[in-house]
């Protein structure tokens, strides 16, 4: 039975990918130091979360059958500390949470006196001022066709009747996530890691993660790059327009590498001079009011906070003009579109070249196959004819032979 499980359940857009990347690439080193990050592929915990929550995810769920049971069995089999991390776990329902904790060896109330696992819950959190636009952008990068205004309407619906609103608050409403995940844990085993405000030291968030997960003392290689694939206003608008006309025709296995990876992450995210996506000015009052209620509630609960709950307040509304992604500057969208076309052309050219290379390779393989299937006598005859045709006397001899057989070359 594992002694301790560090269970990181969200939230999205809080540097979770970087943390998971470091943990995955260092899992061998971690294990030598008695810390297990049980994953045989980089998305193992994502698949386990899909399995636990029985979520469909563009066909990926087919690879998730039994993934949570496998993960929890690996955790139970490890005697030291185990780490589990995926941000979509934040949306788990109470019954799914109960199943997850029980499968990790958790006992009611977190009792460890008779061998129960000491589960520590981690939630990394960021202010809504940044999370709301980031979530819409994430939707757009997952084939969404609705505009920013519609997204704001959906998350404003108090009934949360639409799946978009239900999902948003399921992974972003911090007190509710902790109600579901932390209700049966002592508060000192619930750890909140706040994402620092923009403009600070780029290492600060990692330092907070490192302190919370007690990674600072461990020998880790931090060689991976911190990706920041956020899009600006015209770039987000462009992807949304592409979704409107092409997403239905592009199956997920093609959408993912072409639109999400090639266009959004590798091409359009490099356009950093365009207007950044932000919260509309008229949304600040309710966001601020909600944030204050969260801070008050979280302070009252007495969780371990790594960072500062004040980070949740976010930056004040900017004084400059807000750029609406539903009515973007068309010249900038056109410029982004040209960059996108260039990227697609280059990618297509590369694919053509690769096709040509493979075609040639296939042709060679086909010839070799024909040769391998041709009887030895036939090959000897072909070799003899080939040799004879390359010398004068040989050609004469062949001519005599062909006349004798009444055959002509060709």
């Amino acid at each position: 039975m594992s002694r301790r499980v560090l269970l990181h359940v969200g939230t999205p857009k809080t540097g979770t990918s970087y943390l998971q990347d470091v943990l995955y690439k260092n899992r061998g080193r971690l294990l030598k130091q008695d810390v297990s990050y049980p994953a045989d592929r980089f998305d193992a915990h994502f698949l386990a979360a899909l399995d636990l929550m029985r979520l469909r995810w563009g066909g990926l769920e087919a690879q998730a059958v039994g993934a949570w049971d496998k993960l929890s069995a690996e955790v139970r089999a490890h005697e030291g500390t185990s780490i589990i991390s995926h941000e979509i776990l934040a949306s788990a329902s109470r019954s799914q949470v109960a199943r997850a904790l029980a499968s990790l060896g958790h006992r009611p109330g977190g009792d460890t006196s008779d061998g129960g696992t000491e589960v520590h819950l981690f939630l990394s959190v960021r202010d809504l001022v940044r999370q709301i636009p980031a979530e819409w952008q994430e939707n757009v990068k997952h084939r969404a066709r609705f505009g920013y205004g519609r997204f704001l309407e959906l998350i404003h619906d108090p009934e949360r009747a639409h799946r978009v609103g239900a999902w948003f608050w399921g992974v972003q409403e911090i007190p509710d996530i902790l109600d579901r995940w932390g209700a049966d844990l002592p508060p000192e085993r619930v750890h909140l890691v706040t994402v620092p405000p923009s403009g600070g030291s780029p290492d600060l968030l990692w330092e907070r993660f490192s302190a919370a997960f007690e990674l600072g003392e461990l020998d880790l290689k931090l060689t991976t790059q911190r990706a920041n694939p956020s899009l600006g206003v015209p770039e987000s608008a462009l992807i949304r327009r592409i979704n409107r006309v092409a997403a239905r025709d592009l199956p997920p296995q093609h959408y993912r590498p072409l639109v999400r990876e090639l266009l959004a992450h590798r091409t359009l995210s490099k356009r950093t001079k365009s207007a950044r996506l932000g919260l509309p000015p008229d949304q600040y009052p309710w966001v601020n009011e909600l944030t204050e209620s969260w801070i008050a509630e979280l302070s009252r609960r007495g969780y371990d906070v790594v960072g500062d709950l004040a980070d949740l307040r976010g930056a004040p509304a900017p004084t400059g003009k807000w750029v609406d992604p539903d009515h973007p500057p068309e010249r900038q969208v056109a410029a982004a579109a040209v960059d996108a076309i260039k990227a697609l052309l280059l990618d297509n050219a590369e694919a053509h070249a690769e096709n040509e290379r493979l075609r040639r390779k296939l042709e060679v393989a086909r010839r070799e196959l024909v040769r391998a299937r041709t009887p030895r006598l036939m090959r000897s005859m072909e070799w003899t004819v080939h040799k004879l045709e390359h010398s004068g006397k040989g050609r004469q001899a062949l001519e005599v032979y062909r006349k004798a057989r009444n055959r002509t070359p060709g």
Binding site: R54, A62, A98, E159, R160, R163, A166, L178, A183, R248
Partner: protein, 398 residues
Amino acid sequence: MSRRRAWGWVAALRAGSTTPWLEWPADGTAGEGEALGDELPGAQQLALLRRLNLYAAAAGRTVPAAIADRVLGAGVSGRGRSELALVGVDEPGPAGQLGASGQFGPRPVDPDALTDDELLRVASALVADDVAVAAAVPDPEPGLLERVRSVRRPWVRSFVVVGMPWRADAVRADLTARGHRPGGRRPTAYLLADDLETVLVQAWAARCFDQGGATWRGFVRANAGAGNLPPRADVARMARSAAYKYGVERVRVVLDDQLLAEELGVPRLGAPPRLGAHAVDLVRRVGEPLGLLVPSEDRPRLLRETLGERLEGLGGPPPSLPPRWDGWLRTQAERTRHDLAAARYPVLGDLDQLLPRPLGSEQSGPVVPVDAEVLALALGLLLDPVTTRGSAKPKEEA
């Protein structure tokens, strides 16, 4: 106090009550009960159990306690709201307990106000569990007679059956069982086709069994809106593919099943299960959570062997296209007819059969899956689960 009232309602529902939550006694101890667990079941589960009690009562039956407990302990599948709290229940837990503050999370609801779609998220997850259990039941060994009958007769001509996947699968299976196993050297490819609306309906049914995904409306809109036929309904493309694989001179378009049966020397061709619009939609919904319980390659077979058999003849008429797509349908049908005629494939039947059939005078409007009807079928499957093969087939609700 209101939590004791809620637990009283839960206990009553377990015992078969059909009283709505808002009509449950609010005063005194008449409606109160002891907690049956750490957490109250979600409003979706409670609403589903009440609907199941109503369904059972209408059939003169009661819901067994084990089934009631399954419903109360079920999860909610797919995206959307997770378990919802009951309106009118004080949320704070025992003193000092963290969480359950009631101030955050989705608003508590009246279970009766939940949509059928919301209840189907719970019901389809439960049915999927049953289908997955059926996966563990080994296939019965074929008897001697069946084995003898399925041996390929040496004198049977070489042939393959292609075309509409939903029907072709059933025809192949039936022919195999009769000893007419498709295959052989240089086979004739019989391409099954029908009027385009039927082809589309069967393409959607095949997709629901194989992958799930789009609703009937979404399926039609995605293809008609883009001006294309889905691959499983593009008969002309299937014919080209068969011509490429088997040779153009060996492709025959089949628009009359009886002619093909005569040509193959069998009395009749097999047919796929006849599922109505609501039944196919239920299969689509169940396939989604089932995808996380069994390997994807097993899912279509499991669904056919369980829900395909149990829902045969149920679920109303097949879906039909909304009138706004009539023009698109006719254009696509004429294009298909033209392509097949131009390629000069021999035809068993009449190529005009490909064209849309005229609307019958009794047809009052397009048939689309309706959540209430789909839920009624799901309730039948909850009351008589598909966990055992050959279990009693529920009668369709009026």
